[in-house]
């Protein structure tokens, strides 16, 4: 499967738990990313996508949240087991992250230029002038107009989308081998989004950067992903090559998600939705976590379905897949 992409990161059985919460918020999540490969994670708001990314970066809100189980091997080291000092060598250097909310990683008290230059100096040991030069070059690459001027501006002086690009510039400044991007283009209009995605793709092609991208924009997923993992309530419920996920969605949650995408044509009635709410950790159903909202749920769903291969490289965690067969059986 990964012959063309030498393995960069292998996540195996990763679980994250909050103190006082009965159920894992991220539960037994496994995936791999190869060099130059893009894995997109999609899933319902609140399903644990950002926490998965934060766990890999060693940035979980401690002591409230902890990795309860699992391994995440990156360039030969298990990230979960590393101490903070080793982790901070890797973070922002071999592995970098673009956060969902720019203001969580940009410090309002420092100029944008100082923040990027500091990240460069810290890991590369270059002098001030060189670091500033690198910062300007990165802002230019991230398509920020008047880059030289923007270096001396504070985050609040930038528009929402410019802040996001400044953060992208900072994340890429040290040529990471693995980039984790949490909704990297959400605040951008489609034309800048296209440019930023191209920037990331170029970087991947030139340097073999692996990309873990979290996004709910299925258009972006279709255009950038090699593979897609669909999460629901902390678990990966389906995973496979991008074409398989879009053309042959197997898990009922994925099917509902694809059905909810608005079309670009003229309005035709209300938007489709997946009715109901995500279960709370206190009220997590036994077995399949989607069973409380699934129109196909049956008695078998009280058992936790294993992620099972349904076609080469395409795995699904649903006892009722492929659903047309089960529906036909029920009718018979």
């Amino acid at each position: 499967m990964h012959a063309e992409h030498p393995r960069l990161l292998s996540v195996d059985g990763l679980s994250v738990r909050f103190r006082h919460h009965p159920a894992n918020i991220v539960d037994d999540v496994s995936f791999t990313i190869g060099a130059g490969e893009t894995l997109c994670i999609v899933g319902e708001s609140g399903c644990g996508k950002s926490l998965t990314a934060l766990a890999l970066m060693g940035l979980l809100p401690k002591p409230a949240a902890q990795v309860a189980a699992g391994r995440a091997v990156f360039e030969g080291e298990d990230l979960v087991a590393l101490d903070e000092s080793r982790m901070s060598d890797i973070r922002g250097n071999r592995m970098a992250m673009i956060f969902q909310e720019p203001m969580t990683s940009l410090n309002p008290a420092f100029t944008v230029g100082d923040q990027i230059a500091e990240a460069v100096r810290r890991h590369r040991g270059v002098d001030r002038a060189a670091a500033r030069g690198r910062a300007r070059e990165m802002l230019e690459q991230a398509r920020i107009p008047a880059a030289e001027k923007r270096l001396d501006e504070y985050p609040h002086q930038l528009s929402g989308g410019m802040r996001q690009r400044a953060m992208i510039a900072m994340a890429l400044a040290n040529d990471p081998a693995l980039l984790i991007a949490d909704e990297p283009t959400t605040a951008l209009d489609v034309t800048i989004q296209a440019q930023v995605l191209r920037l990331i793709r170029q970087l991947q092609a030139e340097r073999g950067t692996g990309l873990l991208m979290i996004t709910h924009d299925l258009g972006v997923v279709a255009e950038t992903a090699d593979r897609v993992a669909v999460m629901y309530a902390g678990r990966i419920v389906e995973e496979g090559p991008v074409a398989a996920i879009f053309d042959d969605p197997q898990h009922p949650y994925t099917i509902g998600l694809m059905g909810s995408v608005p079309s670009l044509g003229r309005r035709s009635g209300r938007l489709e939705t997946i009715p109901g709410l995500v279960p709370t950790p206190e009220a997590m159903p036994r077995g399949c976590r989607f069973s409380t909202r699934c129109p196909f749920a049956a008695a078998v769903c009280a058992e936790t379905p294993a992620l099972t291969e349904i076609a080469p490289g395409h795995r699904v965690a649903c006892a009722r897949a492929p659903i047309e067969l089960r529906v036909a059986e029920d009718a018979a």
Binding site: E101, G160, T186, A187, V190, A222, E223, F246, I274, L277
Partner: protein, 370 residues
Amino acid sequence: MTGAVLETRGLEKRFVTHRPLFGTPTEVHAVNGVDLAIHEGETFAIVGESGCGKSTLARMLIGLIRPSAGQVLYQGREMSGLPQKQMRALRRDLQFIFQDPFSSLNPRMTIGRLVEEPMRAHGIGTPGERRERVGRLLARVGLRPEHADRYPHEFSGGQRQRIGIARALASGPKVLIGDEPVSALDVSIQAQVVNMLEDLKEEFGLTLVVIAHDLAVIRHMSDRVAVMYLGEVVETGPVDAVFDAPAHPYTRALMGAIPVPAPGARDSVAAILEGDVPNPTAPPPGCRFHTRCPFAVARCTRERPALADMGGGRRAACHLRDELPAFDTRAPEPGRTPGAARRFELWRTARSAGQDDRHRKTTQAEETQP
């Protein structure tokens, strides 16, 4: 009277970005001469390039920041001249959903307090009534009543955005301005929130102003749209007309850059608008888009095009407005691939069957009651 709930006349905002000891300060002309009229009960969308001044315009619309020049009129009255008391009432009528949910929610307040606060500030209801309304609002945006006791940091990005929406609805506003109100949400929750906003609009006769990057969502929910570029409105009109036959080259570029939710459906690289975004402290002369416009002629580099009437409620600011080649409309993209559509049919059938089941069960339960 103009029939507009909100109207702007020659609205401008300049920010000083650098003030040297001597000489002239550097300014960003974030909003430059915007004239808009937003009608009661409509959904008006503002789209445009990142940094083009959408948030700044929206903030001026509700009086959060003062214009450098020009006016904002609410129900025909100029906002900046209003006395304190009327300004308070106006704050109740005009509510805002912020672009960055994290920095707009006080981290030390519980969700319940945050949503209740606008009601308290405007003296709405008794504590009991307010608490009940908080519960209802949270449910409305797809959060659980028990979430009321938690703090913002305990929520995901999309959940925080919904808290912001609940809070904006709390005071019973007449106009709701959403700065990217659904952009942090996955498509199914996004669809729930969009449907909810439409219901609320019906129910309370709300006027909605939405800023969004997702053009499919914009088309679905709005009546009219204004397209901005570098501080100026370059095109405005009924949403279907603008989407089907965009008149301004920038609008065309925007339509061409929409990612399609089907792998391999579009050669994404071909659609990229080339050229750098101009420096907003020194915008290009003439038409501000000429540095990136594939159609630009000499005149565009000198003369600023006016936002001229095109009939049918449309206006566009382009010298070549009437001469451009017809826009090659691609077939409207379906939201889903044929494979996904087939499975979704099964889903729909199963769902309506399930609803029948449930309906039958509840009616049986009712019948068995004494």
